[in-house]
Symmetry: C2
Subunit: 469 residues, 2 copies
Amino acid sequence: MNEEIGASRETQSLANGSLVAEAVAQQLEAMLSAGNYDGVKLLLSPVQPVDIAQAIGTLPMILQALAFRLLNKNEAIEVYEYLDPSVQQNLLDRLRSNEVLDLVEEMSPDDRVRLFDELPAKVVRRLLAELSPEERRVTAQLLGYESETAGRLMTTEFIDLKEFLSVSQALKLVRQRATFSETIYSLYVTDKERHLTGILSLRDLVVADPESLIGEVMTREVVNVRTDTDQEEVARAIQRYDFLALPVVDLEKRLVGIVTVDDVIDVIEQEATRDIYAAGAVQAGDEDDYFQSNLFVVARRRIVWLAVLVLANGLTTQVIAMNDEVLKQVVLLTAFIPLLIGAGGNVGAQSSTVVIRGLSTQRIQRLGLFRAIAKEALAGALLGVSMAVFVVPFAWWQGQGPLVATAVGISLIAITTLAATAGASLPLLFDRMGLDPALMSAPFITTATDVAGVLIYLKTASWLLGRLG
Amino acid sequence: MNEEIGASRETQSLANGSLVAEAVAQQLEAMLSAGNYDGVKLLLSPVQPVDIAQAIGTLPMILQALAFRLLNKNEAIEVYEYLDPSVQQNLLDRLRSNEVLDLVEEMSPDDRVRLFDELPAKVVRRLLAELSPEERRVTAQLLGYESETAGRLMTTEFIDLKEFLSVSQALKLVRQRATFSETIYSLYVTDKERHLTGILSLRDLVVADPESLIGEVMTREVVNVRTDTDQEEVARAIQRYDFLALPVVDLEKRLVGIVTVDDVIDVIEQEATRDIYAAGAVQAGDEDDYFQSNLFVVARRRIVWLAVLVLANGLTTQVIAMNDEVLKQVVLLTAFIPLLIGAGGNVGAQSSTVVIRGLSTQRIQRLGLFRAIAKEALAGALLGVSMAVFVVPFAWWQGQGPLVATAVGISLIAITTLAATAGASLPLLFDRMGLDPALMSAPFITTATDVAGVLIYLKTASWLLGRLG
């Protein structure tokens, strides 16, 4: 967490950091090529670390290490934490090994673990061996937790106090340990066995009587998560309670780390991207890389979904091939197939979108399972009827008679009702079964509805043809 | 921002607040009906305000005011801020007018403005007239800014210091004003004309020499936003720089408020929901209400998109009706229409999903416009070829000959390439034109591709029929 409120250019009144970084990158490259190193220092001094990191990332690889060496040490560590993993790796290769070690030693444990996740195992082993015993212990511990859990997300650099301290003693302690802690605004109280017994904020400490004891000032009832709690649940808790940080305990309820709000914002964005990608039939991966990855990686992430969808559409093809008698007799029926499966697909997508989003923002729970499905089914029917009011007269005119129009009307309402019901109930079913409801997102619902929709349409048409024809 | 770290039940080791609230609600209703008011107080005392709010929200209306009156005053204000607008209104109707006034007077300005947005204008005018002059001024000011801007999102309750103060004087001031400020962790320095000249954190203050002057300790270069900055840009800035708060200045660069990180998390979620809804052809509204709104509101939010899509599909119908000669001759061609438009739709959806998400997380900008489109077009062609490898033999077998298979193969590759190109370029074009790229999301791309896809397919088939048939 960047509590040292950083610097940026005075002229920049708006906060569009990408633009700042672009402007800086251009000047930076010119100055480095010209050997104007003092100019570089002057240029970078008022720029925020994250913007410097982006600017360095856009430099040619050979200049990256050069620019990086011109930063002072504290700034270098902050900038390094914001660099893309590929740039971080390039720097590891180009800096001298003592420079590398300084850098890795000084990173916060959670950022270091994120870097190690990306590096080859051999490099990680070498770096781990060279860390100081304390940092090695902490890093190995974090690496031991599963990815996307509170254990991986947390930092071990927090301030813990004891109940018998006075407020003024505690304030002194906070002052001493400020530089080694990721946040000083959330403070934790532990007993001899390191069990979490209470929590207080720096605000509580600042307004309290200096003579009172921490045990009197702290709050004893604490919201906490376990090291194995899923990162999404951690994010929801911080968002729900408007916390700046949340304590993480191990199975024996000992305090082992804290998760801060800045990491949680990234989790919320990552989870939203995952849901959006699922809704667009794209397999989610490491989102950071997406716009840098090559064509074959891009294609591979999409072909799995497409293969499933093509297989399902193969069924639709079969259904049509097996029911082609009616199409031979009334070719115009074909013309309404795209409209019908389009309508079914869109209504199904709407229902599944709303339900999946409701599940992930935890809002749908308030409504109850069966009421949610019933409501969506009714909405589907209502939407089908609304569309039929316009589509049926159009079909009558195109088909010059009641046959096509009736088949289209009946199928339209049946298909939209079915699609809405499936769109609402399949994600809910998956969620109940402990599977990711996003697997039942728009593309799957759409394709599944295609098969059923075409079958309903052709069967209705044959039946009508027998009676009207 | 809830810097007073709140209380919850000691037994609750995980942070799933919804479940806590449900359990509390059940006991609450039983105790209230039995008149056990001391029991209610005991039950609620260790529960977090947001969980109390959800529990009260699920009570019958008649019991809501009763439960609310049992809270102590400070807790009542916090709980009130977390209630759904419909429950807030119900309480306004049922509480005595002096109770209402106390409540509204004590709310933070930003939460008050959010409540006023939902209330009938008449009620707002009456409440405004009864507020204290200072709160009235602040509220009227915030109501004057456009919704979804920094001006609406900000709070006016911040701590501002002067450069000539010493660190110890400043600390004393922070202590005095702690209860009236939304955050005490970000501190702002202004000159005589209230222009923002610097910024510092409570951490800076705590570790600084008590004798130094604020002017020496503060950071002069400040990232700030203007009252009319879009809320999404505010959110991106706080996320990018890992800030806890961001200062908001007016056109004359005077400091008028701050936006805190907790409000920003809600904005990020709200914007993600909007994108997800657009991808699912649902019109975004006030998301909070969605699962409470009635069937007709639900249907209305979807019918607009559906109407557009049905119109577009009407074009596909026309294209088929006008090219039905070839279908009359080879009925089996019909069987592949759903597969082809399905493939085109899915590939188009993938490209538009990735591009729209890239635009809103500001990652695509690094790649450049034309490279992004070219990459997506190539990916589309590659995916089309991959699918054709399986689909063409299947079509050959179904169609017992080269005609259908060739038509399907050629169209498949043409359609996926076209769909990917359109899916990537239309959102980018919309973004360039200052329109919301999410309007060009999956459903629109899918439907637009349908028309072109069917046309390509039928024209190819006629041409082949002329040569092979």
